[in-house]
Symmetry: D2
Subunit: 256 residues, 4 copies
């Protein structure tokens, strides 16, 4: 069985309540033929989403983690690699969609919240990237597109600008952006594609629906996670001659 | 005949010798069902490319211009609008790929070269954008994607950084980038999508093939114009909830 | 007479009505011992300011120009160089403070306004920089600071961001910023210092006083041109080991 | 005794071996009349530098810390505040010059190194900023300049760009930059000035002298810490109408 015949696998981490970017990417890549490894902290979320994808004719498996510590991330990737082996599988795409935010005046932020923000965004990002890249390095170059694998980070407005209530969040998101740029430069030469998407607006999740009900039916004012997912699939399908490191995504009517 | 039944039209300006980004976009959009209006300074280029696209089953028409002056740009758009009328046609996408460069030490650049660089990049960009936006404003919102039209600018490394031999080119490309950002902010609210693509590397054109023959067969080191074109088609197909203003594109092995 | 004994000369272009950044720089450099060549389009402005500086014990001379065309700029620099000759004078600093703005919705901007904006910002900036740099190249390195000369450009918020009503202004200011960066990189190696100051807020000029009277006595909400001038003098006095290309300046309470 | 009569105090953290930016700032502010609180991990460094400054007629005191943990930083600031009390003292400036770097290929970096880099740059920066800002908030506005206090962060090339061997360092320095921007926006309104200096080149320290001996006597190719210190003093002396958040500093001949 040739590499071409191997089923491509997406590993996606960070699924929230199953209504946001990570889950939408899982659904879209599943429809596109990928087997999907679902990584999140909620057992229920990963199980439910795996079931949903499998019922829809896809192939997905739940990989709940207790934390996004380097140890737990390493461990879950070991499980994922054990399950998706050559020649049947080819772990070819990874999405790091973890990124809990904190919005508080600076003086209300505790050292523990700074630590947690850095752990769950930056340290988890480093650990996830390490596993993805080590895995991709073991892949052949996938022709005709020319990547051994693609690693995508979900960024935010706070990846580009610190603001009055975002010090802890922006410090973490800036850090992830730096990481993604360093990786893109170092591993591009090894045909590993690393990209960073700036989500510059509110995403239509359950939470947003509760907070801004008027936005639900108005695609001009909030991002559809399915559309973000489409950008991720586009990034994965770019050929090696023209890779994007960074793009921004925002609703048509967003003020920026 | 409903809007949905109207054939979408792409207007693309800047075709070089028919081997670069503009021509590749014309080919790809043609294959995707667009009628294509080809704008360039070379009569021969537009005629030859129109013939090629028509022979391949597409629908393309040549619109040679003598210059990229606001007057000539206004005039060619009048011709384009006259040809592609509702209800049969819907001018829905426009690509401004004009962008002649100058690489010279600062003191070797004449005021005339500065002027020419600004004229052909910035002033032409303003004029082209004006026509595209006025045209798009007359369109209905195209469902389900939600744009009245999409305008794409081709940028370069020099759009982001001035360097020792790029003062005149970078001044012009920075200017176009500013324009594109202003437009994206002003007309997003009217459901007109404006995007800017940073091409951060050498593009496989006839010229590059002559200068760097070793790059021709190595997609890791130069951009394939067809791949750039794919990014443009992707941008045009983004839905209104998640529009990209800017993305970068570079070969996998590019040093940056 | 050694170079050290030569009187340093500042050339400053762009004086508005004599109440803004250019005039404040002229005053401050004059107090600091510079002879000042005053370049502006208004004969009255330059004459009045020259008189003021001379009355205050300084040495200043008016150099009115009809336009900021490359030809007029070349011509005025020839006059300036004729007046300030070695060994008595050393033209050591130049400030390009020209930068007329346009704030209009995109569709209200005419091609002529785009042209004018580019001419007076970008083309004038190129021409002014050319003369300054050619002049500085003829200077010895001035010890102990180590510059042959310093060229400063006044930037604005629109140097960094295009916005809904700033397309023509931002396109021009982005262009000047690109120019300044290219020059800093090319001529730093020749010990010519080029800097760019982002003025990110309203400057206390006669115009602002008329429009926002409540801002006049509140230094928290508008820039004092004297303070901007101090930053320019600081830049000129930086030693060659630690040159700034770009800094931003804004009032303490500015929202940004 | 009025506020004006209070002696101004600088708190500077991060002194390396006493040959870099932090020590140079301590010396310059001491000469400018500041009492200086010296914070560093090496008891010997702070003692020796305090002695040096006191022998030279200044007033300095050592505040060694074991670590830059939030707890130790809080504790050392408590000591500093206990020593420098109103009406005799006014803690008016703080420099966070801590910023240990790591240069390694990504896969050679351990999770512990990522953690350490974030702790000593970002978390320490948050903790130091918290103490500085809480202290400044207790100050009167100091006329005529109009600040309650100024907090400066030392940045680096890696604050702006991730590169092949800087992932852990850049992630941390990006984070500090985000913090400084958030603080500048939030506390400018309270007349607390926060600035960030990008040191874009090698600094003439003992370490650089050992590695690049040819650079020692060539101010065109490395930064003099005294010159960086001058920029810090300039920032502290800016008046409230024209505060700089960010400036870059690099040697005249630096390639960038």
């Amino acid at each position: 069985m040739s590499v071409a015949a191997a089923r491509k696998v997406l590993v996606v981490a960070g699924l929230g309540k199953g209504t946001g970017t990570g889950a939408a990417a899982a659904r879209l890549f599943s429809k596109a033929g990928y087997s999907v490894a679902l990584v999140a902290r909620g057992v229920e979320t990963v199980n439910k989403l795996a079931e949903e994808l499998n019922s829809a004719g896809g192939e997905a498996a739940p990989f709940a983690v207790e934390t996004y510590s380097p140890k737990d991330i390493n461990s879950v990737w070991n499980s994922i690699r054990a399950k998706y082996q050559a020649p049947n599988y080819n772990i070819h795409a990874a999405i790091f969609n973890v990124g809990p935010g904190t919005w508080k005046p600076f003086l209300d932020i505790t050292p523990e919240e700074v630590r947690t923000s850095l752990e769950n965004n930056v340290e988890a990002g480093f650990a996830f990237a390490r596993e993805a890249i080590l895995t991709f390095k073991g892949n052949e170059i996938s022709e005709p597109k020319g990547a051994r694998g693609t690693l995508i980070f979900t960024g935010a407005t706070a990846s580009l600008r610190g603001n009055t209530t975002t010090s802890a969040f922006a410090a973490a998101k800036f850090g992830v952006r730096a990481l993604s740029q360093s990786l893109a430069k170092e591993f591009g030469k090894q045909n590993i594609h690393v990209a960073h998407a700036i989500i510059d607006g509110g995403i239509l999740t359950e939470r947003l629906a509760a907070m801004r009900p008027e936005a639900v039916d108005n695609p001009d004012v909030r991002l559809n996670p399915d559309s973000i997912a489409e950008s991720y699939l586009y990034l994965v399908n770019q050929d090696r001659s023209s890779w994007t490191w960074e793009l921004d995504l925002r609703p048509a009517h967003e003020k920026w």
